[in-house]
Symmetry: C2
Subunit: 491 residues, 2 copies
């Protein structure tokens, strides 16, 4: 066990924070709420970007870039949007500094005040729809299927590395369509892309569903989300896709001529996924030894560590290690040979476990004699000795197996911690004792939702797409309910 990590079972929040810092993923910066994403954390983000970007392009999307700044007045255009986003944000009021008259440092130049304040984008619907206005005249200009990779800022009061930071990195898709049906289809397509990504790359089982009205994106008609269960029994929203109806088209007066020559407002969607996912990756899979990174997102998939007593031994081990490295790399596997002489093999073992590298190979002089190598997998911590020349065939399969096993473990955990509850006392007790996903009936009103939240801190995470329509009675009010919804405490 990595001794410098707080025990996960004793203090989950502290364990998480320790791990992010010790595994060199990120750290708090001097600017309140803003993190520095360190190279190892950023390498995982690059893997996430690369996989998602390919999926976006395969579904017909292209990338573009819109301004960081949004005129303040834009937020007032869409009534719900202003309530949701114009509150806690970074406001640019001036565009120049000057030398202090006392000669000590620099001050804001009061004469360089902007006529209209600029807001650092918390999300880009407004600035983008203001552009789309000029791009769309006819149905022939539709659909527009654009994604943007960008930084956004939401002035959060309580921040946590990756999970909630004032500035974060994300992608935001913003599409424009000629019909309601097409926009809904796009909203569904993208929540499916997200769940595909979550399950097949992040090894994270998710539940897809609608958000209740209270939990919807500010300005959306319908928000679809994927929800994942973390190891402490809390839910994490891992991606959202919004059907925006004609709300933003109306707010920015974006009309088009349809095939029959009639003018209508354009239909919209937006969808986003952020660096928060790195937090989810950690909280879903990591353990008291450190990170457990699914092979498909691991910056480094295999590490080779030599065990030697003198430089003659090291020389021989290096020949074998480099041969293994280059042959594995030919098959597209990322491999590092760590022959640094300033740390013991034991220290290195612990360090790569902390970093969550999926497969570790160790070779010592006896292995050379016997033609063997020790192979250890991070997910189960199992190790065994195998024939050295079997690793080329073995490791690609092992990486697939590890990817699947991490997913299976998370799925098993979720299944074990998902409860179908019909009594209010059980509902409260489960939340207080162990947390988890609770599938319970709800009467469909915002009032009941609010009261449940007040009394238990649990919210409706989503109304799952695939619950069958079995009727029942609301867990709280006893009123009729059409189907069960997913309750949990959440990040």
């Amino acid at each position: 066990m990595a001794k410098f990590l707080t025990n996960r079972e004793e203090n989950y929040a502290q364990w998480y924070n320790d791990l992010v810092i010790k595994a060199d993923m990120a750290e708090n910066s001097v600017v309140r709420g803003c993190m520095v994403i360190k190279p190892y954390g950023y390498a995982i983000w690059e893997k996430i970007q690369s996989a998602l970007d390919r999926m976006f392009k395969a579904t017909g999307h292209v990338n573009a870039y819109f301004p960081l700044f949004i005129p303040k007045s834009f937020f007032s255009r869409e009534a719900a949007h202003v309530e949701g986003f114009a509150k806690e944000c970074a406001v640019v009021t001036h565009y120049r500094l000057k030398n202090d008259e006392t000669g000590k440092g620099i001050v804001v130049d009061p004469s360089a005040r902007l006529e209209e304040e600029l807001i650092i984008r918390p999300t880009s619907e407004t600035i983008i729809w203001n552009s789309y206005k000029n791009w769309i005249q006819s149905y022939r200009d539709l659909p527009i299927l654009i994604n943007q990779w960008a930084n956004v800022v939401r002035w959060e009061m309580r921040t946590r590395l990756f999970l909630r930071t004032a500035e974060f990195l994300w992608q935001e898709g913003h599409t424009a369509h000629a019909t309601r049906e097409e926009a809904i289809e796009e909203t569904e397509r993208m929540i499916n892309v997200y769940s595909d990504f979550a399950e097949n790359f992040m090894a994270l089982p998710v539940i897809k569903g609608y958000k209740s009205e209270t939990e919807r994106f500010a300005g959306a008609i319908e928000t679809y989300a994927i929800e994942a269960l973390m190891q402490d029994g809390k839910s994490l929203q891992a991606g959202t896709s919004h059907f925006l109806g004609q709300n933003f088209a109306r707010a920015f007066d974006v009309q088009f001529t349809d095939k029959t020559g009639k003018l209508d407002y354009v239909w919209a969607t937006s969808w986003g996924l952020s660096t928060r996912m790195i937090g989810a990756l950690i909280m879903a899979h990591a353990d008291n030894h450190g990170l457990v990174i699914p092979p498909k997102l691991a910056p480094l998939q295999v590490v080779i560590i030599p065990i030697y007593k003198n430089s003659e031994q090291l020389g021989k081990l290096t020949v074998t290690a480099l041969k293994i490295k280059s042959k594995l790399e030919e098959t597209g596997i990322s491999v590092k040979y760590d022959d640094r002489d300033n740390n013991t093999p034991g220290w290195k073992f612990a360090d790569y476990e902390l970093k969550g590298v999926p497969v570790r190979l160790a070779i010592g002089p006896r292995d050379l004699e016997n033609g063997t190598v020790e192979i250890a997998r991070r997910d189960t911590l199992e190790k065994k000795s195998v024939a050295a020349d079997s690793v080329y065939k073995l490791i690609p399969d092992l990486l697939k197996e590890i990817q699947q096993n991490i997913f299976n473990k998370a799925l098993k955990f979720r299944d074990k911690n998902t409860y179908y509850i019909d009594k209010w006392d059980d509902f409260v007790k489960i939340l207080d004792d162990q947390g988890g996903f609770i599938m319970a009936h709800w009467d469909g009103t915002a009032e009941t939702e609010e009261k449940i939240k007040e009394e238990t801190k649990a919210t409706i995470r989503c109304i799952p797409f695939d619950t069958t329509g079995k009727e029942g009675k609301c867990i709280y009010s006893g009123k009729p309910s059409k189907r069960r919804v997913l309750f949990a405490r959440s990040y």
Copy 2:
């Protein structure tokens, strides 16, 4: 000729602007000085990013991400840096908006004033070196070889799409080293990476050299730059690499213990290349028909256009076209088959010329009969009929040839427009008549440099690395000069 473009020879600036807009590269946004990079322009940026990122990683660098915001006081820490960067910048003073008391829109909440104003990064040396302070204790922590892909903001008064915008995208490398020699080596390595990229991907011949003290990066001991000649005879700085000495380490108190146990300040470099390069790409190669994109950076390398009278013909042409498309794609070439029925082939020809697609294939019914296809190259506008089954071999070679030809043409243009001048009258006349690169002697003083700038608007673009040490007399003052330097008017 694309009729809607201003003629390049008549009004170069207007031609450039027309082209950026008409080719759907970018447009001005509603926010002063900030552009929207449209999908076609952004696709070129993605190609640039991908090529550079591979080169950075091949030279041992990793990516990371630092905050958008920099505390105001950080700029005062490095004396030269504050003069260069703390002037025109976006200043965040507040972190909240609230509903206006009159009920009309939203206003800045005066109670949410930041204790210390935050500056949107114009460049990140300060915030990064403030982080490095905690990362570096011993020589074992060095070197740090980090790059960041990010947006930055410099509140420019006069902006032009891609060339000079308030917000732009770039990469900024920030490295930390144990010795002066190692840092200088890194500074040189990166200017070589940039010139390699410019010449081999952008097809842009560049001159590498030192900046004069006046033109140096604020805070640098030495700035290396690559300079490229645009078609209007002006120079464009296409990338810079700075040796920062120990300036930022001193400013942020970053010391390390060297191998002998002695404390010393860390040595630094930084280097950057921005979306400005897209402006250079346009101004170096495009013509009155539109963009000319070097194949290695072309989002689309080959377009296939069917020429038909009825749907039966189209059906047959489509079979052949899709076969060509998929076989070319197998070799990694990007191909689009444009069978849209709402535009004529002639319109499409002009549109793909405007967009600078390197190779166009056209197929009509007669081609089907004869087993031929018409192949046209964008760089020379030549076209010829070839056997349809020869294109698989022909096109990969043709793309290489086009890449080389675009470079050769630019090099020839530069050679023709580079003058070795010894008389002041000639110097002035050339700048006024046709512009170009002028290699002339300079006495090495800032005073002379300033006077030449005042009288001619020409500046020292760089002191080329590879000028031989032939002595002479300063073009302006007549004082002794050790070697020729590169003068030009510039973007």
